[in-house]
Amino acid sequence: MKASNMTNKILPTLPMLVYIVLWAPVIILILFSFSSNRFGIKWESFTLQWYFDIIGNVAVRDALIRSLTIASITIVVATIAGAIAAYGLYKYKFRGRGALRTTILLPMVMPSVVTGGALLVFFSRAIHIPLGFAAITIAHITFCTPLAMFVVLGRMARIDWSLEEASADLGADRLTTWRKITIPVLLPAMIASAALIFPWSFDDFIITYFVAGVGTTTLPIYIFSQLRFGATPVINTIGTILVVLPIIGVLLMHFLQKKEIA
């Protein structure tokens, strides 16, 4: 009895500890973003000055817009390409299908420096795409498409494929079946993959750094470049925004889902 009492106390404490370790740096970052200390490294007094500063900061705004644009294009292209590839891989039997399926995740586990270096050589020496916006976008699509394929394939394994046959049986041709049945049924998986791709693309630093060239600054690259001037409050404020916005998003989605069920 005593032992189980102990366990009952220790077990809930452990996850708490893990959460504290995970969140402590983030909480400190958020706190310091409101601190008037000029280097953003200790608490002095409350201020919103740094937030007003970045609103007026053209470099931050440009980098943010660039990152969001790249992420948006990546989400659309990678999700669609991934879904189509997954469909082909799932539905059609051909030589090497098994090998392809098992190696989908390979590009994702490859060290980013390798991917980045390879893309740099590929773009500059093989197909002559100028480094910068286009190169970054293509690079992001390259490493995000396998993720979309993986997510959509996972969903496909749990779909009742007689839905497609039923549609054909009721008089629909292939295209109509795709439009009316297959895509709507796969849509949740495509949305999920888009939700996963967004942060991947948005905060990728290593690969982007390789193919960015000069003058194309994404938000992560901008933050990194600011480190030359020491940890400035700008990093704290951007960090806070990037942490808080997704949390609001997640909470909002949770709330909406609950509402739909009720």
């Binding site: 046959e165 039923a166 054909a168 049986d169 009721l170 008089g171 041709d173 709507p184």
Partner: protein, 368 residues
């Protein structure tokens, strides 16, 4: 038996379908009469579903012809064939309402919106699904889903409705209800039903004609009555319900089509054979458990087939008790059903020695 001349609605001629390593359908020829319920019955893997899918157009055949309404449809794709399928999983579109599901086929045909609404409304009423129009398949009960699947197919007015084990996922009680309902609906709409099932009872309940399949071949085609009471092969006898099967050879024939068989272990059994069957082809007989009488050991009576034995197992089943008896003469078990009707005077208990007896008419000839 009812054997009126019907026009074949679906016909298979020497149909063969091979999958890598297996012949799923092996030279099957059959005719499905207009306006009837025709069942394909067999254990899983016997080729019944593949046969159905060949008719629907989901599989391409390797040899032979499939005819719907006297026209060869071998090369016509599924979405252009005049038949509709109710799937085992039902395959209701999860992202559409009941109404949208049922209207899907009409929409594909290009029927006008208001006409779709009217026809969907009619079929909803026929299926007693009023009030469910705006629900999703996940928000209605199993029986209702079943009816939506039927409605979705029937609303198109197909020449033939193909049903692939549609009741397999329902519980026993609901399944019985739906069997009756399907029969009623069929009578009401008059469309030919081709029904695939592995459940013997279900096939007996629902069908006008049953075709029993095994290993891709047709074993026997007949009315439920014929299939149950005069199974032609050992496989069917076994499949149709734990019949007692005796393999043996004919040793004596009398003029009145009465034959005497000797089984491999030396039992002599008297049976009646049909006119057409030569004695050499007979490979054994089967007897249904409910046709065997169990009597106290001392009973003295005239009878065709009499054997003594000991009761070794009794399983209460409600209206009867399934009783296994070990014969004295040879090491063989016979299953008989002991009626539990009130007023049945002879009561037996485990280990009791009894007399088994059945008429020559209860012994059914097997030829394969």
């Amino acid at each position: 038996m009812e054997n009126r001349e019907g026009i074949p609605c679906v016909e298979l001629r020497n149909v063969v379908k091979r999958f890598p390593g297996v012949t799923a359908v092996d030279h099957v020829s059959l005719k499905v009469e207009q306006g009837r319920i025709f069942s394909l019955l067999g254990p899983s893997g016997c080729g019944k579903t593949t046969t159905l899918r060949l008719v629907a157009g989901f599989e391409t055949l390797d040899e032979g012809d499939v005819l719907i309404d006297n026209k060869v449809v071998n090369d016509i794709p599924a979405h252009k064939r005049n038949c509709s399928t109710v799937f085992q999983t039902l395959a209701l579109f999860p992202h559409m309402t009941v109404e949208e599901n049922i209207g899907y086929g009409l929409e594909r045909k290009g029927v006008a919106k208001d006409k779709i609404k009217k026809e969907v409304g009619e079929v909803l009423e026929l299926m007693q699904l009023g009030g469910m129009e705006k629900r999703r398949p996940s928000q209605i009960s199993g029986g209702q889903r079943q009816r939506v699947a039927l409605a979705r197919s029937l609303v198109l007015g197909p020449k033939i409705l193909l049903l692939d084990k549609p009741l397999a996922s329902l519980d026993r009680k609901l399944r019985k209800e739906m069997q009756t309902e399907i029969k009623q609906i069929q009578r009401e709409v008059g469309i030919t039903f081709l029904y695939v099932t592995h459940d013997q009872k279900e096939a007996l309940t629902i069908s006008d004609t049953i075709a029993v399949m095994a290993n891709g071949r047709l074993e026997q085609v007949g009315t439920p009555n014929e299939i149950y009471e005069t199974p032609r092969t050992r496989f069917i006898a076994d499949f149709m319900g734990a019949s007692n099967i005796f393999l043996g050879k004919v040793i004596a024939t009398s003029s009145s089509q009465e034959v005497q068989l000797e089984t491999e272990d030396g039992l002599k059994i008297i049976a009646i054979k049909n006119k057409g069957i030569p004695s050499e082809e007979i490979t054994g007989i089967s007897v249904h458990p409910e046709l065997i009488d169990i009597l106290p050991e001392g009973t003295d009576l005239e009878g065709d087939n009499k054997f003594r034995g000991k009761i070794i197992e009794m399983n209460y089943q409600g209206d009867f008790t399934e009783t296994r008896i070990c014969l004295n003469q040879v090491d063989r078990f016979i299953t008989a059903h002991l009626s539990n009707e009130p007023g049945q005077n002879a009561r037996f208990s485990l280990d009791e020695r009894v007399l088994l007896c059945w008429s020559r008419h209860s012994s059914k000839i097997l030829i394969g």
